[in-house]
């Protein structure tokens, strides 16, 4: 009897000791501190990682792509260490507002609605919305359309039902899921970014798809910051300018998009967006 008692006593002590060690370790591990190993402050940038070729994950689980490279380059030039955070697109704005990260560098289109809620940098690339259909489809009537939720594409489809008569709209988490849906015959067409669609046409991976009709509308994609950090916007703008001037921007763009960027067009569009640059006094 005595041995059993001592045995259970030892087990109790062992469990409590284990708890005391594990619990703080659990809370502190994978921890986000403000400083990195080489003493430079950390800047966190979020992207979805499901938007090939602009934002995707590689074999190690790291975020790579155009957005990732731009984010890393911008942060490094600003004197920070870049920490890329993979977040679901539907929750990416909420994460920014609750300070889970500092910037969104995930191909977020500048819209008036979004400008009410956050600040945007000058656009870091230009693109457009395009409808893609399975090869052979000539008419948009009665199709099942895939679209990512919380995107400008979803808004466009909802506000232009006459362009998609009798359509059944299916909402997905990301373009990557849309591609899977195309491959498994769950949808007949989708609306997305022309760079993304072009990538899938070139790489295969989404079956035989082709663009349908002209670009629906142009999009200017910017880096988003909270309303309480206008100084970040100014720093990002200055960094983007420098990157365009010394050719780094063109390098990154060619690497992931495979085409030369139209820098003239970008500079012209930048002038339109000057009015959106926030003043340096921070608003709360």
């Amino acid at each position: 009897m005595r041995k059993v008692k001592e045995g259970t006593q030892a087990v109790k002590i062992a469990m409590i000791a284990l708890l005391v060690i594990i619990l703080p370790a659990g809370f502190l591990s994978c921890g986000g501190t403000g400083e990195s190993e080489d003493e430079s402050p950390v800047l966190k940038l979020a992207m979805s990682g499901a938007y090939r070729p602009l934002s995707m994950t590689d074999a190690e689980g790291n975020l790579v792509g155009f957005d990732a490279d731009i984010a890393t380059e911008v942060a490094t030039r600003m004197g920070y260490e870049a920490e890329l955070v993979q977040t679901e697109w539907a929750g990416i704005q909420a994460g920014l507002q609750t300070s889970k990260y500092d910037l969104i560098c995930g191909s977020m289109a500048i819209t008036d609605e979004r400008l009410d809620a956050m600040h945007f940098s000058l656009p870091y690339y230009i693109s457009g919305a395009q409808v893609y259909v399975k090869q052979g489809i000539t008419d948009l009537d009665g199709l099942r359309i895939g679209v990512t939720e919380s995107t400008t594409y979803e808004q466009y489809i909802e506000s232009h039902p006459e362009l998609f008569p009798n359509a059944e709209v299916l909402r997905y988490d990301s373009e990557a899921q849309i591609v899977s849906a195309m491959n498994t015959d769950k949808i007949d067409c989708f609306v997305s970014d022309r760079i993304v669609g072009g990538f899938y046409i070139q790489e295969g991976g989404a079956g035989d798809i082709e663009p349908f009709g002209d670009l629906l509308y142009m999009e200017h994609l910017g880096i988003a910051a909270r309303k309480d950090s206008p100084e970040l916007v100014h720093e990002v703008n200055a960094t983007l300018e420098a990157m365009i001037d010394d050719g780094t921007y063109e390098e990154i763009y060619m690497k992931w998009v495979g085409l030369e960027p139209d820098l003239e067009q970008m500079r012209a569009i930048w002038e339109e967006h000057e009015v959106n640059i926030p003043p340096l006094e921070s608003e709360s």
Binding site: M15, L18, L19, I22, L23, G26, F27, S29, C30, G31, G32, T33, G34, G49, A50, R52, M56, T57, D58, A59, E60, G61, V64, V85, Q86, T87, E88, G91, A94, G95, T98, S99, K100, S174, A176, Q177, V179, S180, N183, T184, G205, A206
Partner: protein
């Protein structure tokens, strides 16, 4: 000792299917050629099953970490709350039951969002530093959730100890606390063991929800692999196998513990 040998033999019999699956998977990982990771910042994408398994293993670590920490902590806190439901003080009883009702009545995903977007944000803003990161927020939500389910299980266990035990212990002159500690709780715990093991298994699968708050665990990793390789079936099949292995090992452990408790039951001839 014929009894012992039978006991050991039956454990081995139950162990072999799990061991077999485990060995197959380990062989798979080491048999297929590895993905070579190039230097100089060249991006490597997954090209074969072994690449998938490597990345899934990374995600599995996070799943394991969340499950183990939550499992251990929630066992203790769940027991405390469960005991609280049969406390003498009305306040403690009501609070315990209120807690169980609230947490069991709301979905874990909602609790995760509240923990991550509301609670963690408020605390971080109060201290102007990242006190609670995504991992911490997930732990908080998972621990609170599993505590409530464990508490309800233990409450059921306490209630199913026969009234005779209370009367017999009281007639021996034991005070209420002593009765609880020495007579009722050991029996209640033994009765609750299968259900507690069940809660643990459910917890391990619940960790798949934390992908919604930026934690890249097993299921979310499988999604990333699907995005990378355009294969919708294989990554999830592999992830399911990982979950199966983890849960099988855990089930083996709890079944062994139950058998151990059963042995003392046969020896003593009571409900222990």
């Amino acid at each position: 000792m014929p009894d012992n040998r039978r006991h050991q033999a039956s454990l081995i019999r139950t162990a072999s299917p799990y061991a077999f699956i485990g060995c197959c998977i380990i062989a798979l990982i080491f048999a297929t050629p590895s993905v070579v990771f190039a230097q100089d910042g060249d991006t490597e994408f997954i090209t074969d099953v072994s690449g998938m398994l490597k990345l899934l293993l990374k995600g599995a670590w996070l799943t394991l970490a969340l499950s183990v920490i939550t499992g251990i902590v929630a066992l203790i806190t769940g027991s405390l709350v469960g005991i609280g439901t049969s406390a003498r003080s009305v306040v403690i009883r009501s609070l315990s039951n209120l807690f169980i009702w609230l947490i069991r009545g709301t979905p874990l995903l909602v609790q995760l969002f509240i923990s991550y977007f509301a609670f963690a944000t408020i605390v971080n803003r109060m201290f102007d530093a990242e006190v609670i990161n995504a991992f911490g927020a997930a732990l908080i939500a998972l621990i609170i959730n599993t505590t409530a389910y464990n508490a309800e299980t233990i409450r059921g266990g306490i209630n199913s100890v026969e009234k005779g035990q209370w009367d017999a212990a009281a007639s021996l002159g034991m005070g209420r606390n002593k009765i609880m500690r020495r007579v009722i709780l050991p029996q209640a715990f033994s009765i609750s063991l299968p259900s507690l093991g069940n809660n643990l298994v459910v917890l391990i699968k619940d960790t798949s929800l934390v992908g919604a708050i930026t934690l890249i665990e097993l299921t979310y990793t499988a999604r990333n692999i699907m995005n990378q390789t355009a294969k919708p079936f294989l990554p999830f099949l592999l992830a399911a196998v990982f979950y199966l292995i983890i849960i099988s090992l855990v089930t083996l452990g709890t079944k062994a513990w139950e058998k151990h408790m059963q042995r003392s039951k046969q020896a003593v001839g009571g409900n222990i």
